[in-house]
Symmetry: C2
Subunit: 489 residues, 2 copies
């Protein structure tokens, strides 16, 4: 789906393009987006196609091989990620037509920026046992700080700096502001004109990617009143705030905390079900049935269903950012123990999923296993921290012969695997075990169910409750079916 | 509010009343409710005033002093609990008029019962440190088993036994059924006519007490198909199932699990906020503001606000019943660690609330402290496991001079304290510190706020976020205000 679009600046060198771009847009406000990953690349499109503004947008990546490739691809009309949302291609094409979006690895970009949006990663290094149990973790702010320095050394004295990166609470006041002020001081520039604010994205990769930025509620704050005001004005230009009003919080600690609290809460709700689904299996209880019986209570409407575990960039780490902050940045030396525990439990889920299979299928060594889906989430081409990766490793270690399908992934980076996207090829190879591991819509289709039904007798293992009761009844005629979080069917 | 109603059977002895009652209702189905506490007493009223049935109801208590008092009171027109729900008095008066409700400590009652509802307590013995931290706990089934034996030794061979007590999952199949069958065998009675089912109440003491039984969804199951059918028929007669349809689950393990899962989930959500509210205080964040900014997301709509902690009979223990079952009844020797942790964290909350006060008010020894509210929940007269009790103990230990107010409590059993229900007396005694500890509506009234305002300068400590921003602004003119879970105001 990575279409190559006809980009105007295809043949020119970076510096020339950059200079041309700047002079062309001397009369426009310039937005620079730092970091062109899952958030920054799409945020760039949103800014280049602002609702109420007219921005020239420069995306900046670090000058690594990966960074050079991303910027070159972007300038050549290749968007760095595949998503179900057709609006991404539309906005990308529009920005190419308009010519108001350009990607570079040059930090010179910050010199011309009126608004700088920070969308770089801030990772947590986790140390897990083979079982998945979390034994330690560390937050290293050094590359985040470096990125802030590169802004501080170059930015205009009156730039608006918007931190969108998910950071440990306290970062804007204790890291970003001191670094920027320090740089400005060294450059003999005043400190009273710079604006620094925080507003977290709630980007949801998938079919509503763009809408999760443009058409969704935003929470924001500033390091001071003027910063908050400046940020508010900017957000009005890119978000449909008439329908999705903004919420200003009292300080940047509050918005930073809100983001990691949201995700910690979600991670905890998932972890809750991890433990109970194992209890349900032991007690021969269908936990899906139980959850359905409880869910209509408004206080319990967000109970999760059982599943193979949590993946993606945010839910697997944000609680740790928070707990780290409480111990190291806000400085009370106490952890958020329950939120940390959620991460620990979730990290073990793929092993539980594996053990469930082991219990019900005796000889996994040499068994032909087909994994349906490797993304961490349905209808998304995103394998970052996918729980399927761990399951793959356990299966591989025990000697299973594994093939993988995913309609959104051509190459599985974490496992260095080419993925054949033709489902028929996989199914017709007569696997012994079929594991439904990601909730892609395609797997719910009657065609897929029919193809599975027409196989020789197999063991079908639904780790995410994708199959309906009717589909299970149908498939059971020929196959053995097991569902994670369910007693015997 | 404990009205003495004119009961017809006032002067007769128990045995005579019992015999008269039985012969009078020989043509009616007889419901016996075992246990007349917060659930059983109200359940008796609901059955005596069934929507679609016509039952004679006998409430049975154990023959302890307490049991004798409750049954005597009931037969003398005194209902054993005070609640805001006017329907309780109405239904009680109606049952007295009808003469179809009678209380006794005689186990003979089980002999005539067509339906037996088990509403006795099943407690968890917890061992906590002074800090509140949970170090151990135990579930003792012996008195529960004894109660089941007393039924098994007396019940009709075709009685319907409904377990409403919150039990460790597995109890109906592994405890109730074997005991009842054993008793029937010893009595040379057949085993195929008895019906045993489980359906948990979602009783909510307070203004909607009766509705929380009659007008609310029910989940039920049976130890076999016929038991489930019989239970279903009965539930249709006491619950408005046209509006609140019943949900049948696959086995009794499932409904037993559903109940403790519901309450474990709620306890966990509260515990989550306990840790984050301390983090918020440290980071000078107003957590109320943060929760409001997040709550409109449907996946996060049930985020709790900060507070003094959890109380009441269910949320303080149900997760432990579940975890105990997993280790001892279902038998996998693994705990539900996250759910246990929730209880541990919640049990520590009163200490955190105390420490917050200590931090902001230097000399608590000798300080005159007024506690507004001792119930664990607003508009309820229920002090069971109230977190205010622990706070009271910490304050008392440090030498504070404490007075307590609660509009629903005349005598605080746990602390052996008479409670003066006149708020004016308390306020006019010029306390140094006023702690808002329960969310009774009366404390939100303008009259109360005015009375507080008119005091000499005091320290007002809102532990539950009862005061609105406007009220705080108003009170701040004369007083120092601190709110748990909020940075400096």
């Amino acid at each position: 789906m990575n279409k190559v679009l006809n980009h105007k600046s295809l043949k020119q060198t970076d510096q020339v393009v950059f200079n041309n771009f700047i002079s062309k847009y001397s009369n426009k406000e310039i937005v620079v987006v730092q970091g062109l990953g899952f958030v920054g690349s799409v945020m760039s499109l949103v800014c280049a196609n602002a609702i109420n503004g007219s921005y020239a947008v420069i995306g900046v990546e670090v000058s690594t091989n990966r960074g050079e490739k991303i910027t070159k691809d972007l300038n050549n009309g290749i968007f760095p990620l595949v998503a179900e949302d057709p609006k991404i291609d539309q906005l990308f094409e529009k920005s190419i037509e308009q010519g108001n979006f350009f990607a570079t690895t040059e930090t010179d970009a910050y010199k011309v920026a009126d608004i700088i949006i920070i969308d770089i990663n801030l990772d947590v290094e986790k140390e897990n046992l083979t079982s998945g149990a979390l034994i330690d973790y560390n937050v290293d702010l050094s590359s985040f700080k470096k990125a802030i320095v590169s802004i501080g050394e170059n930015c205009k004295e009156d730039a608006l700096i918007l931190v969108e990166t998910t950071v440990p609470p306290g970062s804007c006041m204790k890291v970003v502001k001191p670094i920027i002020h320090d740089c400005l001081r060294k450059r003999n520039l005043p400190l009273d004109k710079i604006r620094i604010g925080h507003s977290y994205e709630r980007v949801m990769p998938g079919p509503n990617y763009i809408d999760s930025i443009q058409n969704f509620y935003r929470v924001y704050s500033g390091i001071d009143e003027k910063s908050a005001d400046a940020l508010e004005s900017f957000l009005h230009t890119i978000i449909r705030t008439d329908e999705y009003p903004l919420t200003r919080l009292g300080n940047t600690n509050a918005t930073e905390m809100a983001k990691v609290l949201e995700n910690s809460y979600r991670a905890m709700n998932i972890a809750f079900m991890v433990e109970w689904s194992r209890f349900a299996e032991e007690a021969d209880v269908d936990l899906y049935e139980v959850v359905n019986a409880i869910r209509f209570r408004s206080t319990h409407a967000n109970l999760m269903y059982p599943g193979i575990g949590v993946g993606g960039y945010c839910l697997t780490k944000d609680a740790l950012l928070a707990s780290w902050s409480r111990q190291n940045l806000i400085g009370q030396n106490e952890s958020l123990s329950q939120s940390e525990k959620a991460i620990d439990i979730n990290d073990q889920m793929p092993r539980f999923a594996f053990e469930f299979l082991q219990k019900h299928y005796q000889n996994l060594s040499g068994a032909k296993v087909l994994l349906l889906g490797i993304s961490y989430r349905g209808d998304v081409g995103d394998t970052r921290y996918s729980p399927v990766e761990k399951l793959y490793d356990y299966l591989s270690e025990i000697g299973a012969i594994i093939t993988c399908h995913d309609p959104y992934i051509k190459f599985w980076e974490e496992e260095s695997l080419e993925i054949d996207q033709d489902l028929n090829t996989h199914v017709s190879s007569s696997p012994d075990i079929i594991i439904i591991s990601t909730g892609h819509t395609i797997y719910k289709n009657q065609n897929t169910i029919d193809a599975l039904f027409n196989l020789g007798s197999s063991f079908i293992y639904d780790t995410i409750g994708l199959l309906s009761a009717e589909q299970i009844a149908h498939l059971k005629e020929k196959h053995t079916i097991k569902v994670l979080g369910r007693g015997d069917l």
